[in-house]
Structure formats: C-alpha cells, structure tokens
C-alpha cells in the first residue's frame, strides 16, 4: 500500500510533502519520544505522533520513513512544512487520537 492509498482510505489530511505520496508503506510505529523513534523505527514505516517540531522531519528523513501522521488535529509548524516539501516526506493528519488511528492503520496494513 502506498502513502496515498493510506491517506485516501483513512481520510487523512495531506499537509505537505506531496511528492512522496507514492512511497510504499512497510509498517508503522507510534511514539512521541523522538529519541525512541530514532532508535527503534524502521525504514518504510508510517510514524504516528503528536510532535510537530521540525526535528520530526530530520528523524523521518534519516530513518527513511514513508510518512508522518499527526494525531488529534495537530498541524505541522511552518519550518516543518518547508523541510517536508524539500525532503519529499509526506505529513498527514487526522482528528482521531493516537490509539484509534494506530488501530486503523494496523488493520489496513495487516488485512
């Protein structure tokens, strides 16, 4: 499944990084501690978080993630958007909370 298909199926907002929407999703990771994500998240994962600081972009690019999903209506900060477009790393969003969106993503990936 691509990031674009995930966004369509779960009705996610696409904030930025549109040119990376065709990346394949290999799995997911949910965490708000960036040090934890850096240590444990794998390439091709979608990362579910409430963090919006531009450091999320550095970590997503470094780990070659598929996309970032922001929960509870959080929006990326302007500098985060800029980096997302540069690095072709899509940032998506949902109004759902972390538990719910993680469950839905899990279901889709493993169905």
């Amino acid at each position: 499944m691509t990031v674009k298909e995930l966004a369509e199926k779960l009705n996610l907002t696409i904030y930025c990084g549109e040119s990376g929407l065709n990346k394949e999703i290999a799995g997911g990771y949910t965490s708000d501690l960036l040090s934890d994500v850096m240590g444990n998240c794998n390439a091709g994962n979608v990362w579910v978080t409430l963090q919006t600081h531009k450091n999320i972009m550095a970590i997503a690019s470094l780990k070659e993630l598929a996309a970032i999903v922001l929960v509870k209506g959080f929006k990326p900060e302007p500098e985060t958007i800029e980096k997302s477009n540069e690095d072709e790393m899509p940032i998506l969003g949902t109004d759902l909370q972390t538990f719910e969106i993680t469950g839905k993503i899990y279901e889709l990936i493993h169905s």
């Binding site: 960036l34 963090q51 600081h53 900060e77």
Partner: protein, 248 residues
Amino acid sequence: MNTFRADLHIHTLLSPCGSLDNTPTTIIERAKEQQLDIIGITDHNCGLQSFLVKELGEKAGIFVMMGMEVTTKEEAHCLAFFEKKSVVNEFSNFIYDRILPIHNDPDKFGYQVVIDKDEDVINEIDKLLISATDLDIDQLEKEVHRRNGLFIPAHVERPRFSLTSQLGFVPPDMNVDGFEISRHTTWSEILAQYPYLKNYSFIQSSDAHYPEDIGKVYAEFTMEAATFDEIRLALKKENGRSVEPHRK
C-alpha cells in the same frame, strides 16, 4: 577576572517533587556550606519562591538568579532566568495560564506552597506545576528572550524530560544562551557525544530537590562580578569571560 561557583538549578519546596525541607533558609545555608557564590532558583513552571531566596541571599552574600524550569509542549525542561522580580512575576503568571488545567493533588504529587520569612504559607498553587505548557520549545525561547531573559535547556543529555529525549537531538540552529548538563555526566562525555555543540557554553547543575544535593556539581564562571549581566556575558564568552561545568 574572578571565578565564581554557581549551581543554577535548585528546586524549593514550591515544586511538588521538591522536599519540604528545601526552604529558602535551608537552601542559602547549604549554598554557603558548599561554597557557592551564585545559585539559581528554578521551580517547575513558577518563580514565586525565588524572591525570598533572593532576599536571604543578599544578606548572606550569595547572588541569586531568579527563574523557573519551564516544561515545553514537547515535555522538554528548559531553564529561564530574568533579572527583575517584576518580570519573574509577570512570566510566572504568563506560564501559569499556559499549563494544562490539572488540579494538584498534594497526596499524590506533593505540596506546592510559597512561604514567607517566618515560614508561614502565603500561597498554595492550585494547578499541577509539573504539567506541560502548550508552548513549543521555539515559542518558549522567543518568550524568554522577548523579556530579555536567559534561556538554557536543562539536563540535555538525560533520557527523560530533556531536549534530546523529547526531540531526538539538539537542533543545530537553536537560539540558546547555553545548555545545562546534569550531575550524572561530565563535560568531556558530552563533547564526545555531541561534537557539534562544542562552541556553545555549558553549565552543570545539581537539579537539587533535597538540601543534600545542592552544590554536588556546579558551573565555574570566570567574569568580573556576580551579576545577571556578567553571567550573560560569560555565557557569550565575551572579553575573556567563560563558564565551565564541574563535577566534584
């Protein structure tokens, strides 16, 4: 130039997690014993107990930096210091409005009290002070600097409530006056781990919640005098001034 020993991160009994023994009088006594010239009073998200410590410090010959340890939205702890009591007061109110509306339960978290010279309680803070604010770290930095304060991310190498634990690494373009390292590490360990931070100023402080921890580590300032402005200049390494972390 002279050298001054400074422990710039001390909690009083106002912090819910701070010992009720950590009264302003005890803190000043302990600072004297530990031969500290400068101390910083940094309760969680509130600077209201620092005024009395400042007053007692003046009599005892200890320069007191008034401030607080603010919790950002990312739950990174950052020290903020201001020169004037009026600014600390205003900033305390500003931060109070920005912390989450969670009521403190003293049985679970501890008391949050401000006391006066006679150790009578003059204020009990209602909202839980260890909660996060809704300010992200960049917003907080701007709010501190807008008030001409000093902004120092706290215990940056720690695995919790630090800039590195919450945000993964120190953003290379951060506008900080310095970084604080905890009593659990040394400056050389930090420089080995984060070589790209070598041009920043570092302080080391105890983060004492109990009297016995005050002064266990300290920052040694080389500067003209113990004043707010000299500390600012030393953090900027101006005209031969400097600061170095020390562990006893």
